[in-house]
């Protein structure tokens, strides 16, 4: 328990950011996000955008899997629905970016609601299999309709905002990162509401939740819908970012990636989504940079590439063994250490 955070009202008690220290850190983080594009090169900007997209999608999956306890391996399919919606709207009707992203979320949400129906009858691994089916159905639809461009997919023009083409990582950063921040704030706030608490109750014991008056079907579908909405918007950002989408852009392995991200990051934690997605996206790249420090150049690259993957896999195992609650719990522990320092913690 932290000292010096006296609450005088329930509103203050439920506040998302409740201390001056948090406000200071948030201001520093916001300043860092604002300054980053002016200091980073194209590679780091690209990685920042990619991490942000992955965070947005992971946050959505965390609502469904981490908070509601419904395992899903369909996140990539819902991202695909969002990406194709954006691409089709842009190419056919030239609709504006904001509308396209919103539509991406809504279309993916509808997909999520359909896939979510069986969640009332099946859960755990069985539900995971149902959501895998969604991936295959989505792939089939993307690959076989003319308006989705078949197996060749669709190539898009850059997004255009106020007469400016968002065609570089620098420009896209100002779209992707703010949208992701908004989505994260939305996710964090969700769990201060009745809806979010209902999700948690369902996760902890669905029968008890029903006894408490929580309509299981409604809230499970809502969770699926919200999660898919997040995936859809993330898919829309993905489409604007890569500007080429094909049925192969959203494989099952991508869904597994997001599931791994929230497990490594910490299920049932918004911070976990951020840390997990950042870990899964950045660690392989950081390992490359570390390996680049070794002498040997191109000769060594071919030998070190598989070693790097092994180390990445081992790192995930180590984290899960030593910290099953994920990176978010490590973060919390570190924070507690500094809260109590210099006293023994």
């Amino acid at each position: 328990m932290r000292i010096g955070t006296l609450k005088e009202s329930y509103v203050a008690d439920a506040a998302l950011f409740d201390s001056r220290t948090q406000h200071v850190w948030l201001a520093i983080a916001a300043a860092a996000l604002l300054l980053f594009p002016f200091m980073a090169n194209d590679y780091w900007l690209y990685m920042a955008c990619l991490v942000a997209i992955n965070i947005a999608s992971s946050a959505g999956l965390n609502i469904l899997t981490g908070y509601t306890g419904l395992v899903s391996l369909g996140q990539a399919a819902f991202m695909g629905l969002g990406a194709y919606t954006v691409a089709i709207l842009q190419l056919r009707w030239g609709t504006p970016l904001a509308l396209n992203l919103l539509a991406a979320g809504v279309v993916a949400m509808l997909g999520g609601l359909i896939v979510g129906v069986p969640s009332l009858r099946v859960k755990g691994l069985y539900l995971a299999i149902v959501t895998i089916a969604a991936t295959f159905i989505a792939h089939f639809l993307f690959a076989n309709f003319d308006f989705t461009g078949g197996t060749s997919g669709l190539s898009m023009r850059p997004a255009r905002v106020f007469g400016t083409d968002l065609d570089t990582s620098f420009r896209l950063y100002w779209l992707i990162v703010p949208v992701t921040v908004l989505m994260l704030l939305g996710a964090a706030n969700l769990f201060r509401t009745r809806i979010g608490r209902a999700f948690i109750a369902i996760r902890d014991r669905d029968i008890s939740a029903e006894v408490l008056g929580i309509a299981l079907l409604k809230y499970k579908l809502l969770s699926f819908g919200l999660s898919s909405f997040y995936a859809g918007v993330a898919g829309g950002l993905f489409a604007y970012f890569f500007r080429v989408i094909t049925p192969e852009s959203f494989p099952l392995s991508m869904s597994i990636f997001f599931l791994a991200a929230i497990i490594v990051g910490g299920m049932g934690s918004t911070l976990g989504s951020i840390l997990g997605a950042a870990f899964m996206t950045m660690v392989p790249e950081l390992l490359k940079l570390v390996f680049d420090l070794l002498p040997g150049g191109a000769d060594l690259t071919v030998f070190l590439a598989p070693v790097r993957l092994v180390i990445f896999g081992a790192l995930i195992i180590v984290f899960l063994v030593f910290e099953p609650l994920g990176l978010a719990e490590m973060w919390r522990r570190t924070r507690r250490f500094f809260h109590l320092w210099p006293f023994k913690n």
Binding site: Y46, D167, E248, L286, V290, A298, T301, V302, A305
Partner: protein
Amino acid sequence: MNQQAMSPRRRGLMLGAAATGLAALTQPLAVLAQDASEIVIGGSIPMTGVFAFAGVGINDGIQDYVKIINDAGGIKGRKVKYVPEDTAYKVDVSVAAFKKITSQNKVNVYYGDSTGFAKTINPELERNGNILMAGASFASELNDPKKYPHQFLVGPDYTEMFGILLKHIAKEKPGAKVAFVYSDSEFGRDPIEKSEAAAKQLGLTVAIKIMTAAGSVDVSGEVIKLRRAAPDYTIFHGYILAPIPEFITQGKQQGMKSKWMGTFWTMDSSTVMKMGADGDGFMGVMPYRYYYDTEAAPMLEKIRAMRPEYQSTAYTQGMLAAMLFLESVKRCLDAGKPLTGDAMKAALNSLKDFDTGGLIGVPISIPGNSIPVGRVYKADMKAQKMVPASDWIKL
């Protein structure tokens, strides 16, 4: 409270991880200054993942050619530097590799690992304007100089590969019945529609088209359909190996007399030899000579001297890509032109009857984005080699 305690070991581990991360983050700032005169070949190379079987060979091929050129003094005295990155055959990682390499080096030419990457990075290439790119993809879509002005294919595109096979079939057995068996993927579907029309033009009949899942293993239903169609030739595309051996084995067991054929990514010697005895006589299109070809080829002799063990056709592809890259650069420098994407592509397109040192058996020209030439080779399981079954065929 004890549960929340941070042990010294854990703290040490975390500090170690933080230090490693910091070192990694600051590393790009410490990149050694690049020699301004260096010619840089960047590469998104799939050294791990599903395409690693080819990526390692491609990497070796490019690296060896760079060594040959540098040992001979470089290009007009300028050394060549090769900067590869592993991509695990993932488009987002390939793009990250491109961004990283181009942020740290003034890249002149670039090798990409997939069709997805080639399509995704194309707007970036156009914006950059100073990079010429080729890669592992033979997608027909990329064979469009207007849409992909700074890219080229290191061989015929998939439709042209089919064209070479169909031309061979039409010559060997006029009016033959042909079957297309392909995977349900962008790769698999690529040449099918156009090749059906091409077959008709050559007086051939496409008896059946069978699409299978990309990784399918049980193909007994498809084999029955194929047997009923009784083709004289069956062309597989969109696979590396599976399910081709299953088709051939079951087809032969059911008395099929079809000749079996494949396209480039199936045709490496080591891949075909895995088909076992049933693969004897398996044919396919190959734009390059095999490592062990005995016909006069100075570059093959050089390769064999450098690497006494068998080198895959992916190796040859990588080496030829590097050769064409550097020939384009050389022609630009000879003409006193700047190394822009446009100038290098124009230099590439100026190649007329260019001698590849025997990597391709005939002199080549590159009027557009592809090299529309190839040869039909056949598996000799006894000799464990691919042997020529036709002369070089130009489209």
